[in-house]
């Protein structure tokens, strides 16, 4: 009969009157307990099912590291390491549809991974860019990016719309834009928003990665103070993350026809401009795309999204990625503000990941199909 001794550290220290704790396999208890009773050794069962106790402690996330598309739990929030492992796994397993690459390195030296999704059906295909997690605390963003990839890979064979999308387009998906900030929101401060770059003069870290783009940089709706949450940075593209993605988007500007950025929270679908109150030249196309997308989204669970130009719908802000993408020649530039409207805010419960992602998928597919119908 073998036991796993938890206390004391060695059998030599077991003496009369001392306490000993031991772990035994379930089936061993049948012989151990009668033996203890026989020998008049008092005992108490402290934990009757250790496996259950461990699972309860880690919650429903005990399967999150399992390496398979169906084994990966898309209804929980994942750490940066888990998301990277997941990307590596997809890259290896779905090499006909997925190509993982890096556009650069973060301030703290982490790789900035992007997944390129799509069938290599023809030499030149238009593309859609999707990024999530520009702001660290908006965890539902990266959750949606992962969900989108999962849906693409799982339904590509069975869903004609998805097949059309992946055949006619490439999708560049950046599940976590602000990797340093996201990591920091897991380890130190759940409400961190900015990047983690160090400031020379102040003791504050980080720049608002959605105020750091070179479009009317640091005008209204952004702050010049390094300690503020909307700090625009010392100069445009000062943040390596912003610079790397801007470089990539500039390089591929002729190919990329839509830019979608996912944020939380407000339940809105926004389009340019953020930095001024003015109507974009292709307003009719963009507005009708937004109107249809919001209706498609609502058809899932009745959740209402407001939509419109960011400046009048949400607030005026300058140096945003959406405005920059639009200025850079991408005809459809959108920013989603996902669920909810403030009850949970940034702390959206994991059980709402599925409905949020399901309805958002309808909006994204709607926009993509609208894009393919050529109204630019």
């Amino acid at each position: 009969l073998q036991v796993d001794l938890w206390q004391p550290s060695s059998p030599f220290h077991i003496v009369e009157g001392a306490v000993a704790d031991a772990r035994v396999p379930q089936n061993t208890t049948r012989s151990l307990l009668p033996f203890l009773q026989q020998e008049n050794i008092q005992y108490t069962v402290l934990i009757s099912d250790l496996q259950q106790a461990i699972e309860n402690q880690t919650g429903g996330r005990s399967h999150r590291n399992r390496r398979s598309l169906s084994g990966y739990n898309y209804e929980v929030y994942h750490s940066l390491e888990e998301i990277e492992d997941w990307m590596y796994y997809l890259n290896r397993t779905y090499s006909d549809l997925v190509h993982m690459f890096s556009v650069g390195k973060s301030y703290e030296g982490r790789p900035l991974y992007v997944l390129k999704l799509g069938k290599r059906s023809r030499p030149y295909k238009k593309a859609v860019w999707i990024d999530c997690g520009i702001h660290a605390r908006e965890w539902i963003g990266p959750a949606f990016c992962q969900w989108f990839v999962k849906e693409a890979l799982q339904t590509y064979q069975t869903d004609p719309d998805m097949r059309k999308m992946l055949t006619q387009l490439y999708f560049y998906i950046m599940p976590v834009f602000n990797v340093d900030g996201y990591h920091f929101s897991w380890t130190h401060d759940r409400f961190w928003r900015k990047t983690r770059s160090k400031n020379m003069r102040f003791h504050c870290h980080g720049v608002d990665a959605n105020r750091n783009w070179k479009v009317k940089w640091c005008d209204e709706g952004a702050s010049l103070h390094p300690c503020d949450d909307t700090y625009c940075g010392p100069f445009p593209e000062s943040e390596p993350e912003v610079k790397a993605v801007a470089h990539f988007l500039r390089k591929h500007r002729k190919q990329i026809k839509a830019y979608l950025s996912f944020h939380a929270y407000a339940q809105m679908l926004l389009y340019p401009y953020s930095y001024k109150y003015a109507t974009i030249p292709n307003f009719n196309c963009v507005e009708s795309a937004a109107y249809n997308a919001v209706n498609a989204l609502q058809s899932a669970y009745g959740v209402r999204y407001r939509y419109g130009p960011a400046s009048s719908t949400l607030y005026v802000s300058s140096g945003s990625s959406m405005d920059w993408a639009y200025k850079n020649g991408i005809p459809y530039a959108f920013a989603f503000e996902l669920r909810d409207t403030g009850h949970f805010g940034f702390l959206l419960p994991e059980m709402l990941i599925k409905p949020t992602c399901t309805e958002t998928m309808l909006a994204v597919k709607n926009i993509t199909l609208h894009l393919l119908k050529k109204c630019h």
Binding site: D228, D229, L347, P349
Partner: protein, 209 residues
Amino acid sequence: ELPPSQFPASRASAVALGYLCYLRGGPGRGLQLRELRRARRQDIDDVGHKYYLELELEDVLDKARTVSCTAEVLYHLGSKTSAPDVQVTVQGELRSTEEADQEFYNWIRSLEKELVAENIPDSHGNVPPELEPIHLLAWVASGYLIWQNSTENTKFHLAQVKHVKQVKRSDEDLQFDYVVLLHEMVSQEVLPWQVTLLWHPQRGARVSQ
């Protein structure tokens, strides 16, 4: 007339909702905005800006239940120290929470050790069911803070209950000392606020100064 999809009306709605949560919220009742139906703004010379709102609210604990209300929010001109004047009229009846309130009251009063909790919801959005009433009372307290501290250039929401400590009292009120994190949408700051809330099942809630 204001488009409901644009931010000025939505900011005024948040103030009206905060005020209503303070007045009518409780451990068994939380209210949130389902939809802003209509909004009007009136600029009153030498006084300020007055918003007239038609809101549809939903009960957090019973999402199928909605109730309509009208609200008036007056932001005073230039004054940074004065809270907006708010009036809210609820059309119809709010679901009664008498039983749940009494149950909660009795439970807290029966505790040997004063209740202490933190991070509600936790990082993943979870709220233990027994702490939901504490969460809803935090909304009441936050409603007061939001009402008192809002301007036309701010929009506050309760981000998280950082810490809550019950303080036993010699009178019949329950006392909760909260540290809440409020998220301000325009500046994007998440900042801690201390607030003490007194609550009684029949007398309702009030913030203690």
